[in-house]
Subunit: 200 residues, 2 copies
Amino acid sequence: MLTELEQRILDAIKLHISQQGRSPTLVEIGRAVGVASKGTLHRYVQGLIDKGQLVRNHAGWRGLQLVEEEIDDESGSLPLLGQIAAGLPIEAIPGHDKFNLANFFMGPDRFILKVVGDSMVDAGILDGDMVVIRHAQQAYSGEIVVALIDGEEATLKRLKYMNDGRVKLIPENSTMQPFVYAAQRVRIQGVLVGQMRSYL
Amino acid sequence: MLTELEQRILDAIKLHISQQGRSPTLVEIGRAVGVASKGTLHRYVQGLIDKGQLVRNHAGWRGLQLVEEEIDDESGSLPLLGQIAAGLPIEAIPGHDKFNLANFFMGPDRFILKVVGDSMVDAGILDGDMVVIRHAQQAYSGEIVVALIDGEEATLKRLKYMNDGRVKLIPENSTMQPFVYAAQRVRIQGVLVGQMRSYL
DNA sequence: TTGAAAGTTCTCCAAAAGTTCTCTATATTG
DNA sequence: CAATATAGAGAACTTTTGGAGAACTTTCAA
């Protein structure tokens, strides 16, 4: 179990690696999470390594690597036939013939919510859809997140960080307006990683 | 048997864990149930642990864990937390706490296609989405189907039977026009039963 | 080769959280 | 009425977490 700061530091490292393609320095982590002391940061990073959340590749600077956990499963597969486009025959996707439903959505720290309302229809998320959320305290600008406003209202919106430090929550619906909040009023509870819908 | 306050405290802990992904502090529990004294709260939490309703994971703060009632049936399940609507807290769905991804889409005679193109965006089916299709030769008017035109072109469209016996294939995209075909030119290959999208 | 940047190892500190007490009050029950 | 269970406040304490920074070593590029 990670403490809040450990989680935020891990999120910041993941964010940096996927954005920049290399691991951040201690000072860069510190800027992301608001900690000034290299020593403190080193203590936390070492703690994450000890807990198995990170590994060090001994390559000098920026030597942090994520541990990727793979999910192995064979149940829950359907044949993946190929691609379908308007006006063309179904085209096979080379190298893929089985599609594992579980792998598509399963992962650590995930949960499912049922969407109520039309605020994200322009992003293809309709009333009644199921969304898969990964627990997270941090998110990129532009991601769709579950955000808690003033500790009371939870909402699914696209997140944008503004230059003045505030946070914009954008409904993907042309009839609705974005809202802008002071950063401390918005707490991110999770990031959208998947969506599904049944037509039965 | 739990007293009223014990039950309320247990409920508050469960709610907090499922919403925030980690156990609450004593003070947070206190705010939720309206008790100011840490000591009192500790007494009750300890009582719940003694009664086997909770376990402590000895991880320092926020170290409370729920007791797993049943062993997880199948892989491919994620917790179904509840509903999310704009401007409201996450609302629990009574009686549902596990969501089986496989069950949601699995069924006989089904296969998966990857969608290419924007012809169904208004129905919430975007370029790159995966759709689950059930093999079928017939479909109801109004269903979304994979249709083969003249034995050559496959396409995903909404199906309408017209009064004159012809068939209308409607793209759910306001910039595109429906096409009408003689019934014998259109062969239905399958009916849309599900759709999913990954944001990773 | 050399110096700035990055990482490591410490010590110290403060706030937050948990723990252990005692004290009080209000029902309920034998 | 006395005994008991429940509900609550809060003081005093310990532990955990979060944070700063000095002093040091290592890495890497100019």
